[in-house]
Amino acid sequence: MQIGMKYAESLFLIVCGALSTVFLVVSFDYSDMARAVPNICAVFVLLCVLFRLTQIWRRSGAEKVVLKVHKRAGPFIAMLAGYTAGVSLLGLMLASALFIPICMYWMGHRRLTLIAIITAGYLVLVYLVFVVGFRMPLPDSLLGL
């Protein structure tokens, strides 16, 4: 996927500017002391964003620069979101037991035995080091699995 760098950066800057504006507006509910430094920072970001936007849109030849995003990036974001949700719902061990082989397969590995060995080895190691060794609680399943 390709997108003009000029447009991609402008979108990022607009998001930064919007976030700072939200902080500025929300800060009016707080005391002078609580809002002083965050306000200075938010105004500083807004000024820098305006300056950078002017720089980007005034520069000639900026249209030619493109930002390339690999086609795997989008699905991977979805997988990360799925893993995060899976850890809360199924617990870390079960979610990892699903995520690791799926991710390896998706990255192009087809040796299922090797994938199974790595997944099992990882889970055993995590259990031995963190749960048995350090008695550290790992995320549990919300569904009681």
Binding site: M5, A8, E9, F12, L13, C16, L19, S20, F23, V26, S27, Y30, S31, M33, A34, R35, A36, V37, P38, C41, A42, F44, V45, C48, V49, F51, R52, Q55, L67, V69, H70, R72, A73, F76, I77, L80, A81, Y83, T84, V87, S88, L92, S96, F99, I100, C103, M104, M107, G108, H109, I118, Y122, V126, F130, F134, R135, M136, P137, L138, P139
Partner: protein, 485 residues
């Protein structure tokens, strides 16, 4: 020294290196987990074990930073900037050699300072009031924004501002008022440092792996070697000494800590280098600077801890806890009545520094093999470990979500060539800057003159203004020369 103490130093260093290399675990968590096991030990044994974990973990974080571009601890964030490009060039072993030797030199120098200069350095650090600490953080922010991305200072400033805005989330450091939580209980404690760092550096690197595929090292042939790395460290004596001094000074000041020291030393090395353009492309100086400084911090951060009872870092606070568990109170008595315990502890730390080199020599050839493993196998394992690391500190799924969110933000910022370091530093130091600002004005009754009243303030203010004006003057000079031509 009792044989058991030597064993504690070796075990602590080894364990620290392993735990430090796992993103998010780090020294303070390992020390916290070990603390209950030290109850039955002698005081010096407990201190040596925990101190060795502290030293080992600080170095261990650099191994994953170099080999996977995933800093194990905040102390190694800057090590990945040049260490990882070296690993990509097949020089992973050399980079680890540099990191180990620079850590050894920095740690030993810090230890010498701790041994001889604890009382006078503690007195100097007491002269740093809120105004001086505020100016020091301001100077750090400005110098990093100006130097890290010379082609576009404004990009650095935007990232810095964004970090400062995010550091405002949570309790106000002075009044305790809640701010910018948007009704979310999780945000009351602010943006947590460890999940943010794991997201910014580890998850964003995972995105890079997903896009690139293949292996980390672009060449299957290993170039250089551990001993070449050891030797290379001494080819840059100025960087080594400067970074050690920076780390030692920052360690002696309570509150700034190891997370900032490695970044400041890296930026200072880049600013003072004859070839600043090679930074970020795999120059040994870029590994020496953060590693010498972070291990110097580990030792000198014990100066305020042992002399005044003010811990310079969370790990130093845990060491102080171990001291108190064994009935030792920080202060002059530690160097007189309990001198045997204190100096045995210092000797244990020296041994730990030595063991760090030994462990590295024994294990490095196996560790570097990870750079020739297909990233398809590494990606889910790194994501899983990042998840555990960010969750484990506070047992909060929210921290893992923050890690993923910062990973996504860092992915976008890397694509747009915005410096991540400028976003990270305010998250580390933002609260300290704000606290310094308000406390200074409260002391002075609202007068801003407090920021230039003491000689230390004047000095910091002077170098801050110089750092701001120097690039401008240089640009003006360049234009004038072009005009003359």
């Amino acid at each position: 020294m009792a044989p058991f103490n030597i064993f504690y130093a070796l075990f602590g260093t080894g364990l620290g290196i392993v735990m430090g290399a796992i993103p998010g675990i780090g020294s303070s968590m390992t020390m916290a987990l070990l603390l209950p096991f030290t109850f039955w030990m002698t005081a010096e044994g407990a201190l040596i074990l925990l101190g060795s974990v502290y030293c080992g973990a600080t170095f261990g974080g650099s191994i994953s930073a170099i080999l996977l571009n995933t800093p194990g601890t905040p102390a190694s964030a800057a090590t990945s900037f040049d260490g990882y490009p070296m690993a990509q060039q097949g020089k992973g072993m050399e980079a680890i050699g540099i990191a180990a030797m620079a850590s050894f030199v920095g740690g030993t120098a810090g230890l010498v300072l701790l041994f001889f200069l604890s009382p006078p350095l503690a007195e100097i650090s007491l002269k740093f009031g809120p105004a001086e600490l505020f100016l020091l953080t301001l100077f750090t922010f400005i110098i990093i924004s100006v130097t890290v991305l010379k082609e576009s200072v404004v990009k650095g400033l935007i990232a810095l501002g964004l970090g400062l805005v995010l550091s405002g989330v949570g309790y106000d450091p002075i009044s305790g008022a809640l701010r910018f939580t948007f009704g979310l209980t999780y945000l009351e404690d602010g943006v947590q440092l460890v999940p943010a760092i794991i997201g910014l550096f580890a998850i964003s690197e995972v995105f890079a792996f997903v896009e690139s595929g293949g292996t980390i090292s672009n060449t299957l042939e290993a170039k250089g070697g551990l001993y070449k790395g050891f030797g290379l460290t001494f080819r840059y004596p100025a960087t080594l000494i400067r970074s050690t001094v920076i780390g030692s000074a920052i360690g002696a000041l309570p509150g700034i800590g190891v997370s900032a020291a490695n970044i400041i030393a890296y930026v200072a090395a880049k600013a003072r280098s004859r070839n600043p353009d090679v930074f970020g492309k795999g120059t040994p100086e870029g590994v020496i600077a953060p590693e010498a400084s972070n291990n110097a911090v580990t030792c000198t951060s014990l100066i305020p801890t042992l002399t005044m009872g003010i811990p310079g870092s969370s790990s130093a606070a845990l060491l102080m806890g171990a001291l108190m568990i064994h009935g030792l109170i920080p202060g002059s008595a530690l160097f007189s009545t309990y001198g045997t315990v204190t100096y045995t502890f210092f000797f244990g730390l020296a041994l730990s520094n030595l063991f760090m080199l030994l462990v590295t020599m024994c294990t490095v050839r196996y560790l570097v093999k990870i750079t020739v493993v297909d990233v398809g196998f590494l990606i889910p394992i790194i994501v899983g470990l990042c998840f555990i690391g960010s969750y484990a500190m506070r047992n909060s799924i929210g921290d893992a979500v923050v890690t993923m969110a910062f990973g996504l933000l860092a992915f976008v910022m890397r694509k747009l060539k915005y410096p991540l370091i400028c976003l990270l530093l305010p998250i580390i130091l933002g609260t300290m800057m704000e606290r310094g600002y308000h406390q200074s004005l409260m002391i002075s009754g609202g007068s801003f003159s407090i920021f230039w009243s003491s000689p230390i303030s004047k000095f910091i203010l002077g170098i801050t203004l110089f750092s701001l004006l120097y690039p401008l003057l240089r640009s003006l000079n360049g234009w004038r020369k072009k005009g003359a031509c």
